[in-house]
């Protein structure tokens, strides 16, 4: 069942926290993964794989580069959940 934006954001923040130690409160919709949260490409892939499992969606490799902000990721997951 599709989750709300807030639910996805909270779940994603937990995954980011687990991989990087970044405080969940800092994972905000308009933050950039690389510029604001300083997440490198390999940590980003770990976050993507864990998000796939948590939200039961598929995020292809080609799509990962388009997920520049937290909002991009939340929107993609919401759309993928349909």
């Amino acid at each position: 069942m599709a989750q709300s934006t807030q639910e996805i954001l909270e779940g994603l923040a937990e995954i980011v926290n687990e991989e990087t130690g970044i405080d969940t409160g800092s994972v905000e919709l308009d933050k950039s993964f690389t510029d604001d949260l300083d997440i490198d490409s390999l940590s980003m892939m770990t976050i993507v794989v864990n998000a796939e499992e948590k939200f039961n969606v598929r995020i292809p490799d080609d799509e990962v580069k388009n997920l520049k902000t937290v909002r991009d990721a939340v929107d993609f997951i919401a759309a993928a959940q349909g």
Partner: protein, 341 residues
């Protein structure tokens, strides 16, 4: 029905080959080029820093081949080392398998030239399985010894990746390096090489590859090709697809993770090793190869080089059980449990 009944001439049956009951690795050898290249020598061309490289790869330095070091010469040095460690005569080698993707001749293979350098005229051929090549070679050698094709097989993993590295590419410039590792596989009274779990996924062939085909280089007047890599895709595949393969190799050998004395994955990237360990959940006290810190990624040479180093430094025991897994361009992979020589 008799076999003769199948023959057009009504006669003739082939005598089967007879091999050893089991095979094991008798000895390992390695060649590390003399020149040590720290990160500081590479950072300017990729607008980076020592800290940036270490964070993303765990690599502090690497060895680069000198102008006189070739795929053949590095192989010969590693081979002589391995044969001496095995305690046999060079003349006892009956086949040579060389895994490399950086021998600069499309043909002939490097293996016959290496055989000649060793004074041999035995069977000698190259295989192309990139970073998984050494584990492929060990699997073939195991079958050859047991099948009776050769009593002693020399398996070499060798790369001079610097000949095919773009030093301005932030994804690979600090990753690739040079070296050679070799193993002598021979007959054994006990199983010394477990079943190989191997496979491929050619749908991802572009993930790690020579940047242009030789035909494009010729027809479009392109410069010397290098090896490119889609790092994120490799990371996902290597961690989440290879951890189950490693587990299958342990199960196929009929042992449990607690029985292992060493885990020796291909030295692709320290981050891959750490993430794979997290997925595998191996007992914390099992030594893990981390040769990449000072050797970087030497592709087919990385597993024998790491193993030889860990044995030499007393980090892992002779006679112990090691899980080794190679994975790389193709995409291809191979994993098996071996008894350490």
């Amino acid at each position: 029905m008799t076999v003769e009944a199948l023959r057009p001439k009504g006669s003739g049956s082939i005598h089967p080959g007879t091999g050893a009951s089991h095979a094991r690795i008798w000895g390992l050898g390695g060649f590390r080029p003399e020149r040590v290249v720290p990160n500081s020598e590479l950072v300017e061309a990729i607008d980076s820093s020592d800290e940036w490289i270490q964070e993303r790869s765990g690599i502090k330095s690497r060895r680069w081949a000198g102008p006189d070091d070739t795929v053949v010469s590095m192989s010969e040095a590693a081979a002589r080392d391995a044969i001496a460690a095995a305690g046999i005569e060079i003349s006892q080698i009956e086949a040579i398998i060389v895994s490399t993707v950086t021998h600069p001749y499309q043909t002939p293979a490097a293996a016959p030239i290496i055989a000649d350098r060793l004074g041999l005229r035995c069977a000698a051929f190259d295989i192309s399985a990139a970073c998984a090549g050494y584990c492929h070679g060990i699997s073939l050698a195991n079958d050859m010894v047991r099948g009776g094709s050769a009593k002693f097989v020399l398996v070499i993993g060798v790369e001079k990746l610097t000949d095919f590295t773009d030093l301005t590419d932030r994804g690979t410039a600090f990753i690739f390096a040079d070296g050679a590792g070799a193993a002598v596989v021979g007959p054994s009274d006990f199983p010394g090489i477990g079943p190989t779990i191997w496979g491929s996924d050619g749908s991802q062939w572009e993930t790690i590859r020579q940047t242009e085909s030789w035909l494009d280089v010729r027809d479009q007047g392109l410069g010397h090709p290098t090896i490119g890599m889609a790092g994120q895709s490799v990371f996902r595949w290597a961690v989440w697809s290879m951890a189950p393969v490693a587990r299958q190799a342990i199960e196929a050998a009929g042992i449990t993770p607690d029985d292992l004395d060493a885990f020796i994955p291909h030295q692709a990237n320290m981050r891959i090793i750490d993430a794979m360990l997290k997925q595998l959940k191996l007992p914390a006290d099992i030594p893990v190869a981390r040769d990449i810190a000072e050797t970087a990624n030497t592709s087919a040479a990385s597993i024998p080089l790491a193993t030889e180093r860990m044995l030499r430094e007393g980090e892992i025991p002779h006679g112990g059980l090691a899980l080794q897994i190679g994975f790389g361009a193709g995409l291809v992979y191979a994993a098996q449990v071996i008894v350490l020589p």
